[in-house]
Symmetry: C2
């Protein structure tokens, strides 16, 4: 779906591999025609370079402490790094032995990383610090992560449009001096919901590969697009408080939480799981009710028994937990190892 | 300190190894005279059994799905399991080939796992479901985890006293029938702050081995008792918003958060770190100000630059992050592997 959307909008599709971190899942992208990828760490870049990926953007401002590893990677693959301060530039420029590309990270309002769009002094300082013909300016990149706090679809689309305009204005300002520079954007909520990508040349969504409860609540996906669950055994049932204990805690699901419209803080949603031993194949089913994971400690999870299905759960049954944030659950469960 | 406190109060000291999960750190306990340990999973029990520990309590209600592994473990070590529902009992009793002990988990108010103290019907149902001479009743066990939401030291001590009374009442009710049963308690806040352990026979604190920011805020420890930090590189500095980006995110620190008295939600505290290359040894120093980790995503951490020290940070510097919850940071960083 995302691949077709990118093609229909003439976008470069450079999916983020940090969600799955899996060589095998990566192959599914290759089958869909993907040749360029995004990762969030030098280690991840090395892993996918070893798995045969040759065009990699590390979408995390370059960590000066890893400059040697970055330089080595540039000798193996077509590598892009991110700069948002001139110190990063000089550290890499002096070491580089092979060509590498760099994007300037722009802060379009998420206020996590990047240079503010009006701060062209800092942008120019980066460009002029390069001083190496091996380091090529590729364009302006952002992650409009503020879409994750949006209240509705319109707000997400508004952030997306504004972010595209900001990047495109910067591109137009610099394109005469640097022909070929592009704009790169692509948080999962925007990429899932937007139909207009004017001003954007490349998208880098990641989470959409599995989606999760957070994306469902944001409206980025439907339930049947969610492709990752954590199967957990029911250990005990406490009818007096309509709760059950599952073996599934913070070390499996992460402590990422979601505030429900009614103010409750939740850590996942339990849905029925059909064991392959009982049926043709393993499967999870749509939610039966608000059977939320209401608290998590290191190994314990507590689910609130709201539906008729969950009220019938017995110790030893299996449930599927839709994680709040699939990226973190996948990282914790080592699902990237296959 | 904890070992001496246990000895001074004639308590069995059975420290919880889930915080460090490390064979090497386990050896420090052995040097302090510890011979019995607590773990929170069957896998952890196997790991420490392989490392030569012979007296292990798995302080998580028994997961029926792991009953074969539990039974095998009972053939290797002196094993105690936890029951809080009769289904667990019959599943294990029918398989067991060697003696094992069981505690009945009591819910003294945390409402995570366990039987409510007044529910002697459920307690009796467990005892009568045993039906195997290999399964020995060891006593009543609790984790008064509600101390973590306490507002002050007095409230923690109140929870501790009440929890000790509840367990001791149950013990007195059953001791004629089962001579030798004990009471087992021991969340880190209670064990750190209490001086009176009347009614308690065994303590099982775990977190105190490293402590963390949560325990510091609760008053369970002083800053110089904290023994685990995550060293993170400063990647970028953003003077316009007095913030810096560190390479240290949810996959390193966990998304465990703490609400400060002023209402802010934080994910860690940055303190100066002295690199061993610059000094005699690696060291971290006391906080210079409210240099909190104010947001975390998968690999990104943002610290708020409050002190003079932090305002002088440059890309490439290292900072020490005191984690909110050391158990989860240690689990994520694989520190248990050594």
């Amino acid at each position: 779906m995302m691949s077709e959307k990118a093609a229909a909008n003439q976008l470069i599709f450079r999916p983020h591999f940090k969600t799955h971190q899996s060589v095998k899942t990566g192959e599914w992208f290759r089958e869909a025609g993907v040749t360029a990828i995004t990762v969030s760490s030098v280690n991840m870049a090395r892993k996918f370079a070893a798995a045969g990926w040759t065009d990699i953007t590390i979408a995390f401002p370059m960590n000066i402490r890893e400059v040697e590893q970055v330089s080595q990677l540039a000798e193996q693959v077509k590598l892009n790094v991110l700069f948002d301060t001139h110190e990063q530039v000089s550290a890499l420029a002096s070491l580089l032995k092979q060509e590498a590309g760099y994007f300037i990270k722009i802060d379009v309002g998420h206020h996590r990383a990047g240079i503010l769009p009006d701060d062209t002094d800092s942008i120019d300082r980066i460009i002029s610090a390069v001083g190496s013909e091996l380091l090529n300016f590729k364009g302006f990149l952002t992650h409009a992560g503020q879409t994750y706090s949006a209240k509705n679809k319109d707000e997400i689309l508004g952030i997306h449009r504004k972010s595209a305009e900001i990047l495109n204005e910067l591109k137009q300002k610099y394109i005469n001096e640097f022909p070929g520079i592009i704009t790169s954007s692509g948080d999962t909520p925007s990429c899932s919901l937007a139909t207009d990508f004017t001003g954007i040349d490349e998208i880098r969504p990641g989470n959409f590969v599995y989606y999760d409860l957070m994306q469902l609540q944001l409206g980025s996906c439907s339930f049947n697009q969610i492709a990752a669950v954590v199967i957990c055994p029911v250990v005990s049932v406490y009818p007096s408080r309509n709760e059950a204990l599952i073996y599934g805690g913070a070390v499996h699901l992460s402590k990422e939480s979601l505030n429900r419209p009614d103010g409750r803080r939740i850590f996942g949603l339990a849905v029925p799981f059909i064991d392959g031993k009982l049926a043709d194949a393993d499967a999870w089913l749509p939610p039966e009710g608000d059977d939320f994971v209401v608290s998590l400690s290191q190994e314990h999870g507590i689910i609130s028994l709201d539906s008729q299905w969950s009220k019938n759960l017995k110790p030893g049954n299996l449930v599927a937990i839709i994680p709040v944030h699939s990226c973190l659950a996948v990282d914790l469960l080592g699902s990237g190892d296959f």
